[in-house]
């Protein structure tokens, strides 16, 4: 049974991020991978090698686009040039869904190139949902918004992060890219129970899940994507998969990137939990019919 309408009813399995150090290996060895996630902005260019590499990847693999600078949560209106480039890329990749972050990062046209946390207010949720709808209507593919890891909270917040995420996706009628590593990182930085978060979001809207590694500092945790996934994050992932069912899953490894095989092997650890979810799903109707 494929996942849900927010990942276009696909059953994509386990993917990894397409990263420059792996290009040669992928193009020459053509390893078996369920799918690659690309950073949209890396390919929203006018020509040259990035697009040549992408086209060669598209000949062999399924690709899903993941953005880092749409900034649904910025008060600014959407950037039309950005949208046009994004739509052109969507046509090129035929991505079944599109994801970006529930965050902001630009104001008055100045870009921080960061994924900054939202104030969890009803006004911000309304504005964010409105922009998500605008993007979806323009690019014409389902959208999943990803929860970010954060290191600060605002006085003006009126609800928890998961309540805010739920409010936004209900208002926008969009999917969730549930990043369980980000939930774990934020839970440590802000002192909440990560399972409350996972339990607090609508499971039927989770179209994709991210797992990744992080770095612990003395007083906080940074979402560095430069390590294997830690056990507490895998446990949280298992819980999320139990709630949402089999969901397209992706390992993010963006810094100190090891060999392709090492990254892929780490990602495939998710299979263990997906198999459990599949078995549970199969067992459920059988049990119901007895």
């Amino acid at each position: 049974m494929p996942a849900n309408r927010f990942n276009a009813f696909t059953d994509y399995g386990i993917g990894i991020g397409l990263r420059v150090p792996h290009y040669r290996h992928i193009l020459e060895k053509k390893p078996v991978v369920d799918w690659f996630e690309i950073i949209s902005e890396n390919f929203m260019v006018d020509g040259g090698r990035p697009l040549e590499v992408l086209d060669r990847i598209l000949e062999q693999y399924r690709v899903v686009q993941h953005g880092v600078s749409m900034y649904f949560g910025s008060a600014d209106p959407l950037d039309r040039t950005h949208l046009k480039k994004l739509k052109a890329l969507v046509k090129r990749t035929k991505t079944p869904w599109l994801s970006d972050h529930l965050c902001w990062g630009s104001v008055d046209g100045t870009y921080t190139h960061d994924l900054l946390p939202m104030p969890y207010t009803f006004a911000a949720a309304k504005r964010t949902a409105e922009k998500i709808r605008q993007v979806r209507d323009y690019v014409e593919v389902p959208i999943c918004v990803e929860n970010v890891s954060s290191y600060a909270e605002f006085h003006v917040s009126e609800m928890t992060e998961w309540e805010f995420l739920s409010e936004v996706v209900e208002l926008a009628d969009c999917g969730i890219l549930l990043d369980v590593n980000n939930i774990y990182v934020s839970s440590k930085n802000h002192g909440f129970n990560p399972y409350d978060y996972v339990n607090g979001v609508p499971p039927d809207r989770v179209g994709q899940i991210h797992v990744a590694g992080h770095t612990k500092f003395e007083k906080y945790i940074l979402d560095t994507h430069d390590h294997p996934v830690l056990d507490p994050v895998w446990k949280l992932y298992a819980h999320a998969v139990r709630r949402s069912g089999v969901t397209a899953t992706l390992l993010e490894w963006d810094d100190k990137i090891p060999s392709f095989q090492e990254v892929h092997d780490e990602a495939l650890k998710a299979n263990e939990f997906i198999a459990g979810a599949r078995a549970a799903k199969k067992a459920a109707p059988a049990a119901a019919s007895r």
Partner: protein, 296 residues
């Protein structure tokens, strides 16, 4: 800037985002901390406390500082990768001062960091003290390095073939040049210099959104700063690889004239002392390289 106690509108959201952005894009101290005072004289601690909650381990200021550091480390990291030649001209400390001053004056205005250095040449012209006594060389190196960015992923148009051009009267034929092709007239051999300092494989291929440290001084090869001497260089791509090609002064003038919209006859008519055989060889080579396209 005083924020409303409750956020009811998009304008309220924008006020908060403006304040936070302003705190992030302000240069850090030498020890990579937020500056002690805000622009209105308040302590930075008071400003941070006005909109960010502390927790049991970190003050509001410390939490804000995490983001400020990430902002600067990320942008400086990108700068390091994009400007190895400029680093070699200025040395690490001077390069850092220039990078901070540039980013403070020209924060990123693009969704991609690819365009971070697009206004660097203009900045160096307006602030020569930051690159003295090597301002002219620094400008040339920056122009050359930016041309590489353009050649890497700039737009292209269908290349004209020899057949497309043959039999067209030179007095009426106007050719376009590929947008990714840069034609540089340099006072220093910046091409040789940048190639000499670049060490293969030193550029970062990482893509993390959360840098944890200031950019490290990546090793560059030592190369003597070039002596002053005019060179003409085309920076282009072929089969999606970046190439640099030295041009004769006359060849450079012809190509510049074509880009400006002159006919072939007009472009060639402005140069002296070039044999018809040379001209023919140049045009043949430029067509083979795919430099010509229809005018936009």
């Amino acid at each position: 800037m005083k924020l409303p106690a409750r956020q009811r509108t998009t304008r309220d959201l924008k006020s908060l985002q403006r304040l936070m952005t302003a705190t992030l894009v302000r240069p850090l101290t030498r020890t990579n901390r937020l500056q002690g005072r805000w622009t209105d004289g308040r302590t930075m601690k008071a400003v941070a406390e006005s909109f960010i909650k502390p927790n049991d381990r970190l003050t509001a200021l410390e939490r804000l500082q995490i983001y400020a550091r990430c902002y600067w480390f990320r942008l400086l990291d990108s700068f390091y990768d994009d400007c190895p030649g400029l680093r070699a001209v200025l040395g690490e400390r001077k390069f850092m001062r220039l990078a901070e001053a540039y980013l403070a004056k020209y924060p990123s205005r693009s969704f991609t960091m690819r365009n971070l250095c697009s206004r660097l040449e203009k900045f160096i012209r307006s602030e020569p003290r930051l690159t003295a006594p090597h301002s002219a060389l620094a400008r040339d190196v920056v122009r050359f390095e930016w041309a590489q960015t353009v050649a890497f992923d700039g737009p292209s148009r269908p290349a004209l073939t020899a057949d497309d051009i043959a039999d067209r009267p030179p007095t009426r034929l106007r050719l376009g040049l590929q947008p990714y092709l840069s034609l540089l007239a340099l006072d220093y051999a910046a091409d040789d210099f940048v190639i000499a300092v670049k060490k293969e494989g030193e550029l970062s291929a990482d893509a993390s959104n959360t840098p944890v440290a200031a950019p490290r001084a990546a090793k560059l090869r030592r190369a003597a700063r070039p002596k002053r001497g005019r060179v003409y260089v085309a920076v282009h791509r072929h089969d999606n690889m970046i190439y640099y090609k030295r041009l004769e002064p006359a060849a450079h003038r012809i190509l510049r004239a074509l880009r400006a919209g002159r006919t072939i006859a007009q472009a060639v008519g402005h140069v002296r002392g070039v044999t018809p055989e040379n001209l023919q060889a140049w045009f043949k080579n430029w067509v083979e390289l795919g430099w010509f396209c229809r005018r936009a």
